[in-house]
């Protein structure tokens, strides 16, 4: 039984993440009075890309070739190391919050290097912008997680979920502040509005898309999939560490069923909010982004200070 649960835990993130992207696009389309593609379109896209031939720049080195594998593997690793639907699948080995932050940074590191590898002007500037944003997001990211870690008295994300559930209340101000801080980091790290526009290929606006501009075929599929995974990972962290309601605490089938449903509903809400933000907000000018990121850091600092 627990082996099956572990397998589900490992493959759940890559299996569901394209659906999340499809849902966001569908909702955005609806909000713009368009019909929009099917929510399963990202799966078709991945399938199509995996079967396409590739064009690789002659300036590219092995870093360019290996980067998609590493980036995707990192999201698999992190996806398996965080509480999804069950907190009892405690993973003491790799489930430390700093491990998660810095393992995700491996992905960012290789993505930025891959962007520079082909020597195109787009890739280089994409990398520069990405590293600027992620460097400034780091403080908010760690401190937001630290708020819940101090409340849960552990830096293990599973334990945080578990203890947060027993002491959960809706009006805990520090948690709400830290969540707001975390949400800003979520938008920054997953290349959403107002940090980046995931749907554009204009050189002035793109960050993530600029770095993967030279990719095609299988490697592009891996990168697209990895970024979908990353979005789901952040949505999961945001919901299960701050609002762990419904998460399964035992291997009881009923608890697990509730856990899975609660997980899907909570993550769905996050995707809806992201779609709403993307529909009613413009992308920020690049040099206004630091303000937002510092606000996220300060929100978390205040949250920690308020924590008893």
């Amino acid at each position: 039984m627990s082996i099956i649960l572990w397998l589900v835990q490992i493959i759940l993130v890559p299996a569901l993440s394209p659906l999340g992207v499809g849902l966001t696009r569908k909702m955005k389309a609806k909000l713009q009075n368009r019909k929009g593609a099917s929510v399963f379109q990202p799966y078709y896209d991945l399938w199509k890309l995996f079967h396409k031939d590739e064009v690789v720049s002659k300036d590219a080195s092995w870093v360019f070739n290996i980067a998609p594998t590493i980036i995707f593997a990192v999201t698999l690793f992190v996806g398996a190391s965080i509480p999804l639907f069950a907190s009892f699948l405690g993973n003491a080995l790799t489930g430390d919050m700093l491990v998660i932050v810095y393992t995700l940074a491996i992905g960012t590191f290789f993505l930025a290097l891959a962007g520079m590898d082909t020597g195109s002007a787009f890739g280089g500037f994409g990398s520069s912008r990405e590293m600027t944003i992620s460097a400034l997001a780091e403080g908010g990211f760690i401190f937001a997680l630290l708020t819940v870690a101090l409340r849960g008295n552990s830096t293990n994300v599973f334990t945080i979920s578990e203890t947060a559930l027993s002491s959960f209340s809706y009006d805990s101000l520090p948690i709400i502040l830290a969540f707001l801080g975390f949400f800003v980091v979520l938008l920054a790290e997953t290349a959403r509005f107002p940090f980046d526009n995931p749907a554009t290929h204009l050189e002035l606006t793109m960050v993530h898309e600029a770095m993967i501009l030279e990719y095609s075929g299988k490697k592009l599929a891996l990168l697209e999939w990895a970024s979908a995974n990353k979005l789901l990972i952040f949505a999961t962290l945001g919901t299960n560490l701050f609002f762990p309601l419904g998460i399964a605490q035992s291997a009881d089938p009923k608890a697990i069923l509730i856990g899975v449903i609660a997980f899907l509903v909570k993550v769905f809400v996050v995707y809806v909010v992201i779609a709403m933000i993307e529909s009613c907000m413009a992308k920020f000018r690049f040099f206004r982004l630091p303000d937002l990121l510092i606000v996220s850091f300060i929100l978390s600092c205040v949250a920690i200070a308020l924590l008893q």
Binding site: H51, D53, I70, V99, Y102, A105, L113, G124, S128, L150
Partner: protein, 682 residues
């Protein structure tokens, strides 16, 4: 067998290896090859002996304390104290010296017939002897002699490449700064002597209760400035970014990796060992100093496009991180929380070891690149990964380790540092809590910025297309160079994967201090070599490594064999919007960091200067050439050193008036001086 090595004779043998190496290369200076071989081989053998010696010392249960010879001066005694802490630093010095010497054996070849190889071997070995004596000396005066040997020998290594005017200037700055630091150290020792009546570390420690608190506080400030100058804390770091790049690369590796740590060693020795118990504000001050150093270090590193200066600024950053661990250790120990103090001290020591490994690795790889391209300017690199694939790989590992990416060693010591800061943040009251919070924030931002900086360094150096002709002629380095780098790269991984074991050894070193000897270890090491801090957190380095590896291999195999095998890969040009693709389209290291610099413009003070030259100065319609100079103004230069030098100049101007040129006046001065001293002596 073990007793014969771990003995005074064993340690004397260790020093004599380097002495023989130094003298031999001096004697054979007429013959370049022989001098290099002799100097490097003795350094290699000595380092291996040092590693063996220190490992056995750390495993043995007793310390070694001995005095050699009878000194003619009453206060000077050549006494060594080889306790666990000294043993650890002997280990770090020997380990890095080993790989730097192997690298040096190959690297020095390009100085043949250009400079005196014998002198290089002489000062190189003397430098290592100096460092070994510094971390083992047990007498204040003997310590100062060792300190001077280390500083002066390294000065000659800095100015070794003397054809370059800048190197001579850098060496001069280094010599001045290191002696200003030494003045503060001497003052600190004199104050200690005044209260305790001895220069011997053991007697000072025994009678430390005689030192009044106010004097202790002054000693703290003096020692912080003195040893901080050597360690490179902001704002006393100005010598570091110019001196480290000037030296030959294997010496830079030793200076950045090990020499600056001797400052850290003495801080630990004095604050943690000799002056206990200490007031709480010392630790908090060190935390603030550490935060400022780490943040400013990494920000200035981002502004650099000289690869070795960039690495030198990262040394300042990492010294800051070590100080964060040390500062929390001191705070906890003065608040009588020895368990947490032990955890923080382990973090500081572990980061000392890790920084030594990956920083020397990075300096050696940078040296290998410079050797092939004959420039330190990163804007003239690009695409080196195709010409020097192995050097690029080693540099990549060094970059990942210094950016604290798991499973490399940098992550685990930063993890421990974070944990000790978190403990202070959770357990202490205001204002300590606020300082710990600020430090944790500084560490978090430092990590992010370091990652950005190494994307820039690696990307601008090794990726994309060559930006100069030199790169196209670059060849992979010789075997000895690659061996030195490769071994350090493997060590960076091993110290990461076996961080649990390393930490358990470091806990024993921490227990060597009286204040911590009975502390129950908060840090636990489990069966699978994981690291844990109480029930608060746990991380398993081998498992992270294995799981990451499994995930990468799985993804690799799945994409290669599972999905659609009949795929064609077409090699084409990079998309360039239809214009001619050339290296000028690539992002440069200046361009890469410009946005971060503009964001931090309050601190970094970026300046932009535009010059236009016209064909006709009067009509000014047709520009001939345009120049844009982007630079950064150093705030500590503007607000600290410039006013200071102005003040000194003003004083000198005033003092000049007594120098009238009349001999009679001078005789009068002498007369007054004699009278005054007669009265004082009475």
């Amino acid at each position: 067998m073990i007793d014969t090595i771990v003995s005074p004779a064993g340690f004397i043998a260790l020093l004599s290896f380097f002495f023989v190496g130094a003298l031999g290369s001096f004697v054979f200076q007429k013959n370049d090859r022989l001098a290099n071989l002799w100097g490097s081989l003795f350094a290699i053998v000595g380092s291996i002996w040092g590693i063996l010696f220190s490992i056995l010392l750390l495993r043995s249960s007793s310390d070694i304390f001995f005095t050699t010879g009878t000194s003619v001066f009453p206060l000077l005694s050549i006494s060594f104290n080889l306790d666990k802490l000294a043993g650890f630093f002997v280990f770090v010095i020997s380990l890095i010296a080993l790989f730097c010497s192997i690298y040096g054996l190959g690297y020095v070849k390009h100085y043949y017939r250009k400079y005196n190889i014998g002198a290089l071997g002489f000062f190189y070995n003397l430098f290592i002897v100096g460092m070994l004596a510094v971390v083992t000396a047990s007498n204040g005066l003997f310590f100062l002699i060792a300190w001077e040997i280390m500083s002066v020998a390294s000065y000659f290594l800095v100015v070794y490449d003397r054809d370059d005017e800048d190197n001579v200037k850098a060496g001069f700055l280094y010599l001045i700064m290191t002696h200003i630091g030494t003045v503060f150290i001497i003052l600190a020792f004199i104050l200690l002597y005044q209260s305790t009546g001895s220069f011997d570390f053991t007697s000072i420690k025994a009678s430390v209760a005689l030192v009044p608190l106010s004097v202790k506080n002054i000693i703290f400030v003096l020692a912080m400035v003195g040893f901080g100058t050597k360690a490179g804390i902001v704002p006393f770091h100005i010598w570091l970014p110019s001196a480290h790049p000037a030296a030959p690369s294997h010496v830079s590796g030793l200076m950045s990796g090990v020499m600056i740590k001797t400052g850290i060693y003495m801080m630990i020795r004095i604050f943690m060992d000799m002056l206990q118990p200490i007031p709480a504000w010392w630790g908090l001050t060190i935390l603030i100093v550490g935060s400022v150093s780490s943040l400013l270090g990494v920000l200035y590193a981002l502004t650099e496009h000289d690869i070795k200066r960039l690495l030198a600024y990262h040394s300042i950053e990492n010294i800051g991180i070590i100080l964060l661990g040390l500062g929390s250790a001191l705070t906890f120990s003065s608040l009588n929380m020895p368990t947490l103090a032990l955890l923080s001290l382990v973090a500081a020591l572990f980061h000392t070891l890790n920084h030594a490994t990956f920083k020397s690795l990075l300096f050696l790889s940078a040296g290998s690149v410079i050797n092939a391209t004959h420039t330190r300017n990163m804007e003239e690199y690009g695409g080196l990964i195709k010409y020097m694939p192995q050097t690029a790989f080693f540099f990549l590992i060094g970059s990942m380790a210094i950016s604290a990416l798991p499973p490399f060693n940098g992550f685990f010591s930063e993890w421990l540092t974070f944990q000790s800061l978190f403990q202070g943040l959770a357990g202490l009251d205001f204002p300590s809590k606020a300082i710990f919070m600020a430090s944790a924030g500084a560490l978090a931002f430092t990590g992010g910025l370091a990652l950005a900086c190494f994307v820039k360094a690696f990307g601008a150096t090794f990726l994309a297309r060559p930006r100069s002709k030199e790169v196209e002629h670059a060849k992979e380095s010789s075997f000895l160079l690659r061996f030195g780098m490769g071994a350090l790269a493997i060590l960076s991984l091993l110290f990461g994967v076996f961080s649990g074991y390393v930490s358990s050894v470091l806990v024993e070193i921490g227990r060597g201090f009286d204040a911590l000897s009975t502390a129950p270890s908060f840090l636990s090491v489990s069966k699978n070599y994981g690291l844990g801090t109480g029930t608060f957190s746990f991380v398993s380095a081998p498992m992270i490594f294995v799981f990451l590896l499994i995930a990468i291999v799985l993804v690799f195999l799945a994409t290669k064999y599972l999905v659609h095998k009949k795929q064609e890969v077409i090699i084409g040009d990079t998309w360039d919007c239809g214009v001619n693709l050339n290296p000028r389209m690539e992002i440069t290291s200046t361009g890469f960091a410009r946005s971060i610099i503009l964001i931090f413009k309050g601190v970094l003070k970026p300046s932009i200067q535009k010059d236009v030259e016209y064909h006709d100065d009067k009509s000014r319609f047709l520009p001939k050439s345009r120049t844009v100079i982007l630079s950064v103004n150093d705030v500590y230069q503007i607000y600290f050193y410039l006013p200071l030098s102005k003040f000194v100049a003003y004083l000198s101007e005033r003092a000049k008036t007594i120098q009238g040129g009349n001999v009679n006046f001078y005789i009068f001065y002498i007369f007054v001086a004699v009278l005054a001293s007669l009265f004082l002596v009475q």
